[in-house]
């Protein structure tokens, strides 16, 4: 869980920084998007690096979901008779919602790929003009798209809040003081990542990017 999660988080950071290029205008953003297809050139043919990264991330995602499924099945088997009286988990909302949150994030990723990668759900759907795709996506009259992104990203934020701490613990974080630091770092990181992703749709919605 920890290793595959960290791989996915590294991608999330790079993806967020790339998204923020939108504030430099259409030419810069489209140029950046095109560069993603030509990384490694001229050694690698066009799109090879991109496909390599997709394969790696896909494998990490499958391994992440597989490990989660194994843990969930073991948990179910470990308590065949349930408690009659069971209050909600007292420690953390983020920890309690890891599994269903993960399902929501997976559905969101599918929607996101259909929207801004394949373009099937995008009103412009022009691979050469990603800036136009994004601006059309988050237009005020398509407010529900923004809503889907907000739900997806906030769920991701909660997932990361527990996930980042849990990954550090799995890899051997071992002192109480370090635990407080790891929990704070996970919270700050989750909030920063949410803000970095959500600023794009809200900037379009507010007319700052258009």
């Amino acid at each position: 869980m920890a290793v595959t999660g960290i791989l996915l988080v590294l991608f999330l950071i790079a993806h967020m920084i790339g998204n923020l290029k939108i504030f430099f205008g259409p030419a810069d953003f489209d140029h950046y998007a095109h560069w993603l297809r030509t990384i490694g050139a001229p050694v690698l043919p066009e799109d090879w690096y991109l496909w390599g990264q997709r394969v790696l991330l896909g494998a990490a995602l499958v391994a992440h979901i597989w490990a989660a499924a194994v843990l969930a099945r073991r948990a179910r088997a470990a308590r065949p008779v349930r408690y009659v009286h069971r209050p909600k988990v007292q420690v953390s909302y983020a920890a309690r919602t890891m599994r269903w949150g993960g399902v929501i994030i997976a559905l969101f990723v599918v929607y996101h790929l259909l929207d801004l990668t394949t373009g099937d759900l995008n009103p412009v759907a022009d691979q050469r003009r990603p800036y136009a795709n994004v601006v059309a996506d988050f237009a005020p009259e398509r407010w529900w798209v923004t809503l889907i992104y907000v739900i997806g990203i906030v769920t991701l934020g909660f997932h990361l809040r527990h996930g980042m701490f849990s990954a550090l613990r799995s890899l051997g974080q071992q002192t109480p003081r370090g635990e407080r630091r790891a929990r704070s770092a996970a919270l700050v990181f989750a909030v920063a990542l949410c803000a970095g992703y959500l600023v794009v749709p809200f900037a379009v919605l507010a007319g700052l990017v258009g």
């Binding site: 869980m1 069971r86 920890a95 071992q174």
Partner: protein, 253 residues
Amino acid sequence: MNLTLRIWRQKGPDDPGRMVTYPVTDVSPDMSFLEMLDVLNEQLTLAGDDPVAFDHDCREGICGACGMVINGVAHGPEKATTVCQLHMRHFSDGDTIDIEPWRAKAFPVIKDLVVDRGALDRIIAAGGYITAPTGSAPEAHSQLVRKADADAAFESAACIGCGACVAACPNGSATLFLAAKVTHLSLLPQGQPERMTRVVGMVDAHDAAGFGGCTNIGECSAVCPKEIPLSTIGRLNRDYLRATRERSGTPGT
């Protein structure tokens, strides 16, 4: 105080079991929770009914024998308190209290609130020991231990093996127990010779017993009557990672 108790009654391992409601009257707020159950059992015995079976021994909070889930919380509502040290003053007149046994596949119910915690013993047997020299006690200063290590080891050594961590864990995992035992021994010089085989053997015994996997939620530490810190699980993970990296960590090599 007058209370309504809803208690899990199960005649034996093969009985499906059910919640049964009992009224208890004239409970003193100074009674411990177990004394309140003693009063109920006297009433039941006088009425010719089967008394409620529950584990208990020292009633001082140090043996780890007692334990039940009260209103969904292992050892009841007081923090850092075993059920024998929980007093009725923490409840109110007219309360309905749900009492259930520890629920885990690895802890089969023997009768009513008594479960078989032999799985924890099997984890200990897989490595929770040191090769101690026999004979007279060695000079205490012959082996120096850093104060920070001694404190952390002692914190873990406080584990009484009651099983509340398992009862509270949404995954049905005994990782806090496992981590306390591994940490206790591997922080001290006496625990070093078996350090790597210990962690591998005990984790394997834990998984083989049918406990779930840890997802670092922290319910265990929240209910632990000895307040074993969640960070001990990090020490366990670190030892396990090291043991599985080094060939010497594999038993039999």
